[in-house]
Subunit: 173 residues, 2 copies
DNA sequence: GACGGGATCGCCGGGATAATTA
DNA sequence: TCTAATTATCCCGGCGATCCCG
């Protein structure tokens, strides 16, 4: 790897997580990881990247959430758990890609999200997994409200939502 | 893509140019470009990134450490203990032989390194040994941060690393 | 694994600081 | 005794999951 001067670029948190999670060996740098993921030779820079289908319809950040907070459905929910589940559902639908990248949040022993129930069951004692509607994901549910807020906050932060919105959403749980 | 909560990563110049050259439209962000190049669509998320032949693993003196200091993995660590463990891991991998020779560092009664947990447990009261990843060694962990720095400094000195690097590594703990 | 929600309390990891020893 | 080095107790904050309550 070249010792050349490094350039700084900005990436959103979800992408950052994705990159970090692809570390192959201890102490690997961002450049190394990206080169591998991009299938670039360490030395040569191949010209044309794979052509990919255009991104799906872009929804403006937080729009769906804002609507949800105002909506009758949300207001009608009586329990923290129901609000929690709806929020996650909306978060997923608003941006499945970022959600997927961000959902590797975990506690000391439990993992919080998985795409199947069994994985969550296996990660703790009575995790009470529930499916997130409209998504392939499951979440752990046996937590106090503080932790539910916490999980949502972490998730949203990793999905690069603005602070203020994170605040309001967590507050609403 | 939102501009909120961006993370900064460092990439080498060649990679930087490669990314920049793949801009599709004016004002496109690094995240957007990378997402496209990495094929991070909802559809491809589940599968692992393409596996590529690993880069040759020869590491020159201090090179691996330098990489580590810059690496995403290291930056993502939140506790002194985690940084400590990663540093030791990289030190071992960079030169197992020297590590082995240098690792007979000890305190007044505790020994700091051993190739099995029991030896460390036996050398003190609550030494909290942890295994050094990628190596056959264990370290004592029940120390304040000052001593962790100390241990690393002694180890690196015995492995003949330059002072400046020792400084920087210890500082980073 | 079948009542569901979630507060409360116990446990654990990190590591500063107090205690101990040379 | 005073200081400096080393040990390891112990506190704090975070996490888990039991268990109580509606």
């Amino acid at each position: 790897m070249s010792k050349n001067r490094m350039k700084t670029i900005e990436v959103d948190e979800a992408l950052y997580h994705y990159i970090a999670s692809n570390t192959r060996h201890i102490g690997e740098s961002a450049s190394e990881i990206l080169r591998r993921l991009l299938q670039l030779d360490a030395s040569t820079l191949v010209s044309d990247p794979p052509v990919v289908a255009p991104a799906a319809a872009v929804i403006k950040k937080g729009q769906g959430l804002e609507q949800m907070l105002k909506g009758e459905e949300f207001k009608s929910l009586e329990s923290a758990i129901d609000r929690f589940m709806l929020i996650l559902s909306v978060l997923y639908q608003e941006n499945p890609t970022d959600f997927a990248l961000a959902s590797d949040i975990k506690g000391r022993k439990r993992i919080y999200f998985a795409d199947d129930e069994a994985a969550l069951l296996a990660s703790g004692n009575t995790t009470k997994p529930k499916a997130i509607e409209g998504s392939p994901y499951w979440v752990i549910t046996n937590t106090n409200t503080g932790r539910k807020r916490n999980i949502v906050a972490q998730l949203m932060a990793a999905m690069a939502y603005p602070h203020g919105l994170i605040e309001r959403v967590c507050q609403s749980i």
